[in-house]
């Protein structure tokens, strides 16, 4: 695809997303808002899995830390300032990721997968067990943060379509931020680490530091998603940090084809779509989901991302010289 076509496609997608609130169906607006939040979450994980080559199975921890941070930082019966709680909660999840990254990045491969999962479980218990988190019932965020600046209210998060556009703007912002980073010298180092970490080291890169920075950055961006999730739904529970959440977001990244930001967004939509579809068939929709996943791994080696390539190749027929 040439770049004009791809830009056009992206703008069309954005336009389509911008039209959702016009439908007036609050169910669909909320579903789309939730999916956009998950798309931000998936993009943040893609920075690790798809671009740096770090398969984290504990990314929900940073989603959850930010979600809890909004709930805990907001006063009980009045609105907190958006301009204070947003940076604070995102900063806290980045900080948590920095701390955890310091431990988990000492490991590689299978160890890394297991250790990220274990640390996410640690975070789960921090909110589940200690008086801080309100146990398994979680905490309510009674009043959404306000965007008021010195008496002027640019938008109102209590208004569903304002909230929706705020989330859409956050998605565009995170996308642009990541796209920019990936073109920067720093981003090129991350992609180099994914391709051949050993070579990066022999060229003088202290790769641990770059991976740690990427881990903290991904944690912070995951925190953006967690923050928005808490604002949309108005309550937080330890389930937000559960390993199912980590598994699902990994699934979205893989569905969309790792190492592609539009892919991560598409993955979030495909995942939510499948979830809604299967749930409309049966209460036991996870059975169908599990079956689809197992079948995909068995019959589509290389992942779903390889499917377009395969189709292209089979369309071109045997004439190509491979």
């Amino acid at each position: 695809m040439n770049s004009t076509a791809s830009t056009t496609l992206k703008l069309l997608g954005l336009l389509l997303l911008a039209c959702v609130p016009l439908s007036g169906e609050s169910f669909y607006v909320e579903l789309a808002a939730k999916t956009l939040v998950l798309a931000i979450f998936a993009m943040s994980l893609d920075l690790l899995v798809g671009f740096t080559g770090l398969v984290s199975f504990g990314h929900a921890a940073y989603f959850g830390v930010a979600a809890y941070a909004v709930a805990l930082l907001s006063p009980k019966y009045e609105a907190a300032s958006l301009w204070y709680v947003l940076p604070a909660s995102v900063g806290l999840s980045a900080l948590a990721a920095l701390l955890v990254g310091f431990f988990v990045l000492r490991t590689k491969g299978i160890y890394f997968i297991m250790v990220t999962l274990a640390f996410a479980q640690l975070a789960f218990f921090v909110f589940h067990d200690t008086p801080l988190g309100g146990g398994s019932d979680g905490i309510y965020l009674n009043v959404k943060p306000t965007a008021e600046i010195a008496g002027w209210l640019p938008f109102d998060l209590d208004n569903p379509s304002h909230l929706y556009y705020f989330i859409l703007a956050a998605l565009v912002g995170v996308y642009a931020f990541l796209a920019r980073i990936l073109q920067s010298p720093f981003g090129r180092v991350l992609v180099g680490i994914k391709s051949n970490e050993h070579r990066m080291q022999s060229m003088g890169y202290l790769t641990f530091r770059y991976k740690l920075a990427a881990f903290a950055l991904a944690g912070g961006l995951g925190g953006v998603a967690g923050f928005l999730y808490a604002v949309v739904f108005g309550f937080v529970t330890p389930e937000l940090l559960s390993w199912h959440q980590s598994g699902n977001v990994l699934l979205m990244v893989i569905l969309g084809g790792m190492g592609s930001l539009p892919g991560a967004i598409a993955g979030a939509f495909v995942f939510t779509g499948m979830q809604e579809l299967f749930a409309s068939w049966t209460k036991h929709w996870q059975l169908v989901m599990g079956g689809v996943i197992v079948a995909a791994v068995l019959f589509l080696p290389g992942g779903l991302a390889a499917v377009p390539d395969r189709i292209k190749r089979s369309l071109q027929g045997g004439g190509s010289n491979e």
Partner: protein, 288 residues
């Protein structure tokens, strides 16, 4: 704490640690020998516990349930290896994570479909239902001692199997170099199948033994899975003896953590893991 309470907690730690060892030993063998990360290993524990519940209600005896359950789970394990896991050996970890994550969803939903979502108890066999009095008010249930004893016997059996038998020799060789073992004319596929089925049966057996004391409930496998990961990380991938030491450490940390730091009990084991990662990122005993 008085002496009797410390004794009770020590015995509980041992029993919990040994039970975790049953689960983690299979996990670490499958990691170490086949290079597979298996998220569904916790489901094997859950399957064992539910089998104990179902078979005990049918046959009326936990003994019979376990005697039937062992060959049954071994067979299911071999079948799963043949149908699914044997396709994963040359895939990357991400695909292994995906497939086994899908399996968890399937197992949990099948459990929900077949047995329901309620919590069920399993009766302790009458023979072991007694308690040994330790002080005026405290006593210790015989059944927990039996669990520990069974686990110790199994650990010894595993040691004998790996160190002293021809199969164990092949397992140890396969641990190091697949192509070399194949060059020796050993059927590596058969070894993989046996090891996998053994791992399944051990995890399921742990679930069956634990059923009367923990009862059986939805998602009971996931907690055990993550704790087993912690054990494998602490012990070093592929090291059965590392897993034994780590399982006991975790057993003690968790049990005494619950008593001494009730507000932080869930976190203690992970903090132990974090400390080990700082000290030895590849586990206290590397593969061997």
């Amino acid at each position: 704490m008085d002496f009797a309470s410390i004794l009770i907690q020590t015995l509980n730690s041992l029993q919990y640690g040994l039970l975790l060892f049953l689960v983690a030993s299979g996990l670490t063998l499958v990691f170490g020998i086949m290079g597979i990360i298996n998220l569904a290993h916790g489901s094997f524990y859950m399957i064992g516990a539910y089998l104990a519940f179902v078979l005990t209600s049918v046959t009326g005896s936990l003994f019979t349930a376990i005697l039937l359950g062992i060959p049954l789970t071994f067979a299911i394990g071999a079948l799963l290896e043949w149908a699914l896991f044997s396709h994963l050996y040359k895939r990357d970890h991400l695909e292994q994570v995906l497939l086994t994550y899908g399996l968890i969803l399937i197992f949990e939903e099948l459990r929900s479909l077949l047995v329901g979502d309620e919590v069920h108890g399993v009766d302790i066999p009458a023979l072991f239902s007694a308690s040994i009095p330790l002080s005026d008010v405290l006593s210790y249930p015989v059944y927990r001692l039996v669990i520990s004893a069974v686990c110790i016997v199994l650990a010894l059996g595993l040691y004998f199997l790996i160190q002293r038998t021809r199969l164990g020799m092949m397992i140890r060789a396969g641990n190091h170099d697949r192509s070399m073992v194949e060059a020796l004319g050993i059927n590596i596929n058969m070894i993989y199948r046996v090891v996998f089925a053994l791992g399944f049966a051990l995890a399921a057996l742990a679930g069956m033994l634990a059923a009367p004391i923990s009862s059986v409930f939805p998602n009971m496998g996931s907690h055990v899975l993550i704790i087993s990961f912690v054990i494998v990380v602490i012990g070093g991938i592929g090291s059965v003896w590392g897993a034994l030491i780590a399982a006991l450490v975790i057993g003690f940390a968790d049990t005494f953590g619950k008593v001494l730091l009730p507000d932080f009990s869930g976190m203690v084991v992970y903090l132990v893991m974090a400390a080990v990662l700082l000290w030895r990122p590849e586990g206290i005993l590397k593969k061997g």
